[in-house]
């Protein structure tokens, strides 16, 4: 049995850190964009009270939780979903799939088609979450990259896009 080895695979630290940073920033950007963009606000308004959704990587990978608080305000609620009543739980099946998603090689819709995501929760609510994520990506990314990341790039006025982008970035960095 000379050809036998016990293997304890290591960790992909850099990819893990990158994904964690992206999830943290996207989470705070959703909070910011819900205050800046009327379409995102409307999507959240239509979701149930105290709605919570989570996006993360299995197993034990980075995660973000975003939802409506008791006053109906959209908030980034950290990276720990334990003990929270999550309505829509989107889980990326592995870190490599998360990297494809967060380096914008695949859009959320394509990633889902390629069976890299599992969704636990109501389908209409999950669709709302995907639409919100798409709109936030339009704010965060330049058009050339956002076109790869979203299903359909929206035709927005320059003012909405530029002013919105500045506000979303500022609010996401400063956290309000």
């Amino acid at each position: 049995m000379g050809e036998y080895k016990d293997i304890t695979p290591g960790k992909k630290r850099l990819k893990r850190i990158y994904t964690a940073i992206m999830l943290w920033f996207v989470g705070r950007s959703i909070q910011a964009a819900a205050r800046v963009d009327k379409d995102i606000k409307k999507e959240f308004d239509e979701l149930p009270d105290q709605f919570l959704f989570s996006l993360g990587v299995t197993p034990n990978g980075p995660r973000m939780v975003v939802g409506k608080d008791i006053n109906g305000r959209v908030k980034y609620m950290g990276s720990n979903a334990k003990g929270k009543a999550i309505n829509v739980d989107m889980t990326i099946k592995n870190l490599e799939a998360a990297i494809l998603l967060f380096t914008f090689q695949e859009s959320t819709a394509i990633s889902s088609c390629h069976d890299r995501l599992t969704v636990d929760g109501d389908i209409p609510n999950a669709c709302s979450v995907v639409r919100i994520l798409d709109l936030v990506e339009v704010y965060l990314l330049p058009k050339i990259i956002a076109k790869l990341a979203v299903k359909r790039y929206p035709e927005w006025e320059m003012n909405r896009k530029l002013m919105g982008r500045v506000q979303v970035y500022l609010r996401a960095i400063l956290g309000f």
């Binding site: 050809e3 036998y4 080895k5 016990d6 293997i7 695979p9 960790k11 197993p59 592995n94």
Partner: protein, 388 residues
């Protein structure tokens, strides 16, 4: 339409495409397993492909055992050695990576660890296993022999046939299909084509089997010519891999056909890739079967031809069109500057005197056909001339 009862069975889940290997940990969890043993052959290990499976498990929190010493042919001694390790280390699932013997050893190991070690020989034959086995994942490489996904295992001189031997999951990842050796790649393609075409005309065939078989044939048609001209084209190689998996599902629902049996017998006796022999015998074997049964030509033509061709081709030329297509594929493979693939058995190491022995071996292995008829087909394949 005639009323009939049909049966089709395919419990295999398939993950194919970019980063498919990375799905293995979560798929294992779904199968209620978390400590697998990975079995791979020396050819796969020498190509450095084990690193991909190790990478796939990074960050999964799972550890596993890796056995890279599978010999060229599956033997009971190796299975016994691995089974001791399996039981001692408390593994709960099996992943086989590569092709041929690695898959057979994995299937043999699964039978042994789910019963008594002495049971293996008693399980040889058809449907001798009466219970589910451990979770089993097959990860075929480009040089697969088409049996990875099937219900068959060949260990020493025994054949094992049971649906419980089919893997729970097949993972086809382009990283394992990078620049394979052309001879092995064509062998994989021709095995898939043989299995799919023979499944189409098998007496037990049905619409469900045809669905897999037709799809496999169309994949081979689209991808094999590209894969042999551009060995580095991962997507074309992957297409051949997908075709092999599809054909394997179809093949698992019928008994092996004439071309399969003759090709396997010739390949085993002369240490030539079985797929190469099947590819050579295929047009002559099909010609023989079309002569015997008129409906075969129509079934095969509908599997091979494009929709447009089906509409404008007269039934009288179906037979010729089928044979022409396979021979044109053979010519493409034979015209390769590097490592041309033989078109006739005469171009291989097989001597004409040994054709009766090949026929006899195929009959001994279960081919229900007259020996003289077998020799007639083999002689046509040897000379490269149509059947008289």
């Amino acid at each position: 339409m005639e009323e009939s009862t049909i049966e089709f069975f395919c419990p295999v889940k398939t993950n194919a495409g970019k980063k498919a290997l990375d799905h293995i940990p979560i798929e294992l969890k779904a199968l209620d397993a978390e400590r697998p043993i990975v079995i791979t052959d020396q050819h796969t290990a020498n190509k450095g492909l084990s690193k991909y499976i190790i990478n796939a498990f990074k960050d999964s929190g799972m550890s596993f055992g890796l056995f890279e010493g599978v010999p060229k042919t599956a033997d009971i001694k190796t299975i016994r050695n691995i089974s001791q390790k399996f039981l001692y280390k408390g593994f709960d699932s099996i992943i086989a990576m590569g092709a041929g013997a690695a898959m057979d050893i994995a299937k043999g190991l699964n039978m042994v660890v789910c019963g008594k070690p002495g049971d293996l020989k008693n399980l040889a034959g058809v449907n001798k296993i009466d219970h589910r086995l451990m979770p089993f994942i097959a990860v075929p490489a480009a040089w697969g022999n088409g049996f990875e996904i099937t219900r068959y295992a060949f260990i020493e001189n025994n054949a094992y046939t049971s649906h419980f031997l089919m893997p729970d999951l097949v993972v086809i990842d382009p990283v394992l299909f990078k620049a394979p050796e052309i001879q092995l790649m064509t062998s994989t393609g021709m095995i898939a084509l043989t299995h799919a075409l023979e499944a189409c005309i098998h007496p037990d065939g049905n619409e469900f089997i045809n669905c897999y078989a037709h799809s496999a044939i169309q994949h081979i048609k689209a991808c094999l010519p590209i894969a042999i001209k551009q060995p580095k084209n991962k997507m074309a190689n992957m297409g051949v891999g997908n075709a092999a998996a599809l054909a394997g599902c179809a093949f698992s629902n019928v008994s092996p056909g004439m071309v399969h049996r003759l090709g396997k017998a010739a390949g085993t006796m002369f240490n030539i890739p079985s797929g190469q022999c099947m590819g050579i015998i295929l047009p002559y074997g099909l010609e023989y079967q079309m002569q015997k049964n008129d409906t075969c030509a129509s079934q095969l033509f509908h599997a091979i031809a494009d929709l447009e061709d089906r509409g404008k081709t007269q039934a009288s030329v179906y037979r010729q069109k089928i044979i022409d297509y396979i021979k044109s594929l053979q010519s493409e493979m034979a015209s390769l500057k590097k490592n041309p693939i033989p078109k006739t058995l005469a171009q291989t190491d097989i001597s004409k005197d040994s054709l009766p022995a090949i026929a006899q071996k195929a009959i001994d292995n279960g081919l229900s056909m007259d020996k003289d008829e077998c020799i007639k087909v083999l002689t046509a394949a040897y000379d490269g001339k149509s059947l008289a």
